[in-house]
């Protein structure tokens, strides 16, 4: 697929950017309009960060803002290669953690969209779809950029 010139790709990319961006902003909003400590309790349940260290507070306080920023960048199309890649990496991290928690038999909250949502095959399928969308955007924007560079060099 010619990512830079295909009309279909451009429309698809626009739709993916808006949907993915909106979901990231919504997820951030749900966490930010409550105390960061609620999100901290969800993170703590995974058992990957020390409960009484600064890392838990750092992640609980900053991750939602990163989600919000990514959401805005995706919708605006700003720094698309970077934001799409970062979004894909983030989703991969989330899915990895959820899979690990399930394998450990932990019956805990996902922490994806505020508190109270348990990790289930539905949450994993949903996040898997978001990962696929982010990957598609990331690959598309990288390929598009590469093609543009090649065309510049041969011109």
């Amino acid at each position: 697929m010619n990512f830079s010139q295909s009309k279909t790709w451009r429309w698809l990319a626009l739709a993916l950017r808006i949907v993915l961006g909106a979901i990231f902003i919504y997820a951030a909003y749900l966490k930010l309009h409550e105390s960061w400590r609620l999100f901290a309790m969800d993170i703590d349940a995974y058992g990957v960060l020390p409960s009484n260290g600064i890392w838990l507070e750092l992640v609980a306080r900053t991750l939602p803002w990163l989600e919000a920023a990514l959401g805005v960048w995706l919708i605006a199309g700003f720094w698309l290669r970077g934001s799409a890649t970062l979004a894909a990496a983030m989703m991969l991290g989330f899915i990895g953690l959820m899979t690990w928690a399930r394998l450990k038999g932990l019956n805990i909250n996902c922490g994806c969209f505020g508190t109270g949502e348990k990790i289930s095959w539905i949450t994993m399928l949903r996040d898997g779809s978001l990962l696929a969308a982010a990957l598609l955007l990331a690959v598309g924007s990288h390929c598009g950029r590469r093609r543009a560079r090649i065309e510049e060099e041969t011109a």
């Binding site: 400590r37 609620l38 309790m41 009484n52």
Partner: protein, 196 residues
């Protein structure tokens, strides 16, 4: 005139429903009902996670928030396991003679033993005087107590999926926790909630 009477009749019929939907369903209440935060705990005497909650989390909650009037704690005892129905009946019977705490503490402390052997009464009787044993033993068979055991469990099934589940209610907002969160983080969050 007729329509006004009809409205009054309809309102009168609906009022009990409104009353039932505003406070917590039964359970055992601890602390002041006027406390700014209501915490409802749904637990099962035979659930290991509930034992952890009761022995480690609950004492801190009671010490720092319930006794000082910041939290009204309502405990709902559900029966999801093989012997928890009997255990709950004894606990609710004990509640009727003011011995709920002693019996609940004993049931959780010796959970492993009576869960394996099925000898719930031995654990309960150990913390009661002979006179109290007689009363609790009789009350545990009382239709009113058995109905309460059933209604707590049926009500719990509509509200929760696992035990322990903690519902924290402040005004119109409700927060749900399944399992026991880390006390230090929960405490700090509760303090923050109290300032809102």
């Amino acid at each position: 005139m007729v329509s006004m009477k009809l409205c009054a009749l309809v309102l009168a019929a609906l009022l009990p429903g409104f009353a039932a939907s505003t406070g917590p369903a039964k359970g055992q209440g601890f602390g002041s009902p006027n406390a700014p935060i209501l915490i409802e705990v749904f637990s099962d005497f035979e659930c290991p996670g509930c034992k952890l909650f009761h022995t480690q989390f609950r004492p801190l909650l009671v010490r720092d928030y319930v006794t000082v009037g910041k939290v009204y704690l309502v405990a709902h005892d559900l029966s999801f396991h093989a012997h928890s129905n009997e255990a709950t009946a004894y606990a609710l019977a004990a509640a009727r003679i003011g011995k709920y705490d002693e019996v609940a503490d004993a049931l959780y402390e010796h959970q492993t033993e009576w869960s394996a052997s099925g000898k719930v009464w031995d654990t309960v009787a150990a913390v009661l005087s002979p006179a109290e044993q007689k009363k609790v033993s009789a009350l545990a068979k009382d239709p009113g107590v058995l109905a309460e055991v059933k209604s707590e469990t049926d009500d719990g099934k509509t509200k929760i999926q696992r035990t322990p589940t903690i519902l924290v209610i402040r005004g119109m907002k409700q927060y749900r926790f399944e399992g026991s969160p880390k006390w230090e983080i929960f405490r700090d969050w509760l303090n923050e909630l109290l300032t809102k």
